[in-house]
């Protein structure tokens, strides 16, 4: 089996497990909707008002990030609780293949939730989120968030504090992704020309390349016994 096929075998395994239980996906989605509802109370957003456009990018990304944390937590705790992590580590695959498999399946779950969130958000707040650059930003931001989140999730699943610890470790490190994604989203909603938000694209791309590389070098130390 080539490296790539090993990675996709793990993605496939996660997808099948999720399709049968649907517990992670439904929890992430409901939580993301709840975040939006809470934001509505907190800022008293009015449909298609000027204030919506100011708050919308932030609310959107907070919902994505928080539901992403939920998903990331499950990615390794599930394996750990059922004793599957040891089995996974015993398989004749490079440990980094496990990282990439887990990362890709997290990205897939997060993107599915986000794909459902975009119409919900559009309907609730009257801001049209359906355009190609914005969807690309969502994809890039999600990859960045999941790439560093997967390493940290593999660690926190093996600690005593477990799911409590992940957001504490992840959010300060992933702050650049959130800043860049919120800024780019706001720029697109304000109809700014591409050149003005190019810097945020670049930052997201840099993050998306850098953190998988760091994980590639360090992931072995995270999972080995």
């Amino acid at each position: 089996m080539t490296y790539l096929r090993k990675v996709f075998a793990i993605v496939w395994k996660d997808s099948v497990a999720e399709l049968r239980t649907k517990e992670m996906f439904s929890a992430m989605f409901v939580f993301a909707v709840l975040v939006i509802v809470i934001f509505n109370f907190a800022f008293d957003l009015r449909v298609s008002g000027e204030r919506v456009r100011q708050v919308a990018p932030g609310a959107l990304w907070v919902a994505f990030a928080f539901s992403g944390v939920l998903g990331l937590n499950r990615a390794f705790i599930l394996e750990k609780d059922r004793g599957c992590l040891e089995g996974l580590l015993l398989t004749p695959v490079d440990h980094t293949a496990i990282y990439f498999g887990k990362m890709i399946s997290t990205v897939v779950f997060m993107l599915l939730v986000e794909a459902l969130m975009l119409p919900v958000f559009t309907a609730f707040f009257g801001v049209n989120l359906f355009n190609l650059p914005l969807i690309l930003i969502v994809v890039l931001g999600t990859i960045g968030f999941a790439s560093v989140g997967t390493t940290l999730s593999a660690m926190t699943a093996q600690t005593r504090a477990r799911e409590v610890l992940l957001p504490i470790l992840l959010l300060p490190v992933a702050a650049p992704v959130l800043i860049a994604a919120v800024k780019a989203t706001a720029g697109i909603l304000d109809g700014l020309p591409m050149a003005e938000i190019a810097v945020w694209w670049r930052l997201l791309l840099a993050f998306d390349l850098l953190y998988p590389a760091v994980a590639f070098m360090t992931f072995d130390y995270v999972v080995k016994e």
């Binding site: 390493t151 610890l165 702050a175 650049p176 945020w200 850098l210």
Partner: protein
Amino acid sequence: MKRQRDTLLIVLTALSAVMMLVALYLALVGAPAADLKSETGRYAQRIIYFHIATAWVGFLAFFVTFVAGIGYLRTQERKWDIVALSSGEIGTVFMLGVLVSGSIWAKPAWGVWWVWDERLTISLIQFLIYVGYLMLRASVEDPARRARFAAVYGIVAFISVPINFIAIRLWRTQHPLIFGTEGGGLGPNMMFAFFFCLTTFTVWYVTLMWHRIRLERFRDDVEQLKQRVMG
């Protein structure tokens, strides 16, 4: 040999105490008053000598944690983990010092305790990363695993600092600067006091590191003795 090293540590501790006193004098009395209109502003400005020196140590300590983390992953030797742990703990305290001293200065200079300026924001994030680092350590029991996790997080977090800095800088420059850096510049006569404080804090950091590493060694020794006695 051991006794010699202990004497050296005592000398170093005394030296940093004396330097700290001199630094206090220079910062509070010795350095010329800043060219500011308000009297409160002139007094408040003097905190800058300690504030910047504290920030320097805060970031230096994090760099040491990062390097020690790499050292640990390469060699799996306990000494690297002790260095990383000591530097992480000291850095946390210094970073908190940066935030507090900065707020104390910001109130008279800007009229508010806090602004979401780039340097303030990055310092806050840096502090939160440190807190996360210590919480991670506290949450893993197996020493080898704790050392490995801490090293990986130290590396991941250290790499995020420049990216965070770029992101926050870009984020802020998109807005007009509301507060000017009144009294931020240093005159030539202030430079001596400034660099003296910087040196003092660096020496102090080295002293604290030494004490902390020594303490951790003692702990290891006690642990070994306990195991031998308990059999």
